[in-house]
Symmetry: C2
Subunit: 237 residues, 2 copies
Amino acid sequence: MADRKEQSAGAKVEPGNERPPTRRLAPEDRERLIVEEAIRFFAEVGFGGQTRELAQRVGVTQPLLYRYFPTKADLIDRVYQEVFLGRWDPQWESLLEDSSQTLRTRLITFYKSYSKVMFSYEWIRIYLFAGLRGADINRRYIKRVEERLLSRICAAFREENGLPPPDVEPITSAETEMIWMMHAGIFYYCVRKYVYETKVEEDVDAMIRCCVDALFDGVPAVLKSLRPAGGDIRGTE
Amino acid sequence: MADRKEQSAGAKVEPGNERPPTRRLAPEDRERLIVEEAIRFFAEVGFGGQTRELAQRVGVTQPLLYRYFPTKADLIDRVYQEVFLGRWDPQWESLLEDSSQTLRTRLITFYKSYSKVMFSYEWIRIYLFAGLRGADINRRYIKRVEERLLSRICAAFREENGLPPPDVEPITSAETEMIWMMHAGIFYYCVRKYVYETKVEEDVDAMIRCCVDALFDGVPAVLKSLRPAGGDIRGTE
DNA sequence: CGAGTTATTTATCGATAGATAAATTATTGG
DNA sequence: CCAATAATTTATCTATCGATAAATAACTCG
């Protein structure tokens, strides 16, 4: 109940250091602290979380938030921007187009990087909370994924299989849906992990390889190649 | 502001019929109406939705809810039970084991049925809202999916490919993850549709066939089979 | 140092939202 | 038709929550 009230402001409190370190931050520093904590906080409890609790976690009083953000909605908008746009890596797009590696390798490399950045605890939960609220940012984000990522993957599959490029024959929705399946598989792996907190395959990279392989060769082929036991028990049949 | 206040109770109001039809329902009927509306309501706005608004949509006053459910949490629990357990079809499990059809056919049939019941607007949103709240019901549900559905699919894949059954060699997490990919693909299709409300492939059945085919044969094989190639749209039909 | 600036806190308003008690009115049985 | 039962409403309590205004205190610069 009454165990707070001391050490109101800012950063960490060294046990030996008596003075609460740095009250009165520069506005841009305080703002950054607020936004970062807001991301963590809203990711945990959703956008219904109270400004008082957020302020407490930042280590300031609640009215101070309103000096930096006119309304709670403005703060939430800022969180959206930070999470959805601020973490996008443009290299993903060029990586997927880099024909010097096989598409399989590119996909594995890409999803290792992508899942680390985007399909993380904070991102997944903010993404779902925002989507359920009907935030437009999700639609825009999905559009971006389709236009910048999935379309490139589809095109690469065409190219690797000697099929006409998208500008000759447009990508069909069936093709896109197949790639969405892989994307969703990795996405939902993280949902199971960070939202439902169920037991999942520990090795993320192995999981990604598995999904990519299944997408390329089909499950039966992967099953056969997975057979362990000293060299291909059934391979010779 | 003051445009309500008339026609307080129950169902629909015929324009010609002056008397507000059926006030004072039998308790079990009223309870059913409350639960059904609660599912719709919470699916739309989340469990933060206000009891007053829910009551208004049911057509009763807010305190009446508390005659049927001691607290809001109790009502939410009831919604969980109804949505997650009340809609499960035991036939799914036997269908997946029915060796008289090919696994591919079984999977398509299964997912057509499953997605109609479970991956619907209400279910998907209640499921995500509940999961983000940390409700234990989701973990239990996922366990059920793994134990009753995915395990059977994995076993069937083994059988169709002449591999040892699960009681000889236990299902590996890699195998489960591959099946999760397909499950998630169809799940996330509905998330895009009902949560993010983006444009998706209209034909659900086509989407399911597509995912199942890709899972069996790999994307390249599906891509080639999709090719019009001389006039025949689909050789396998 | 000392005054001005401003980051931060204290105090508080007004609306909302879950919950409860008491009044009311529809229904049923004799 | 009347009395008993109970479904439903009216009125209200209390805590919470976003937001604002005024007071305070830390930092800067001459």
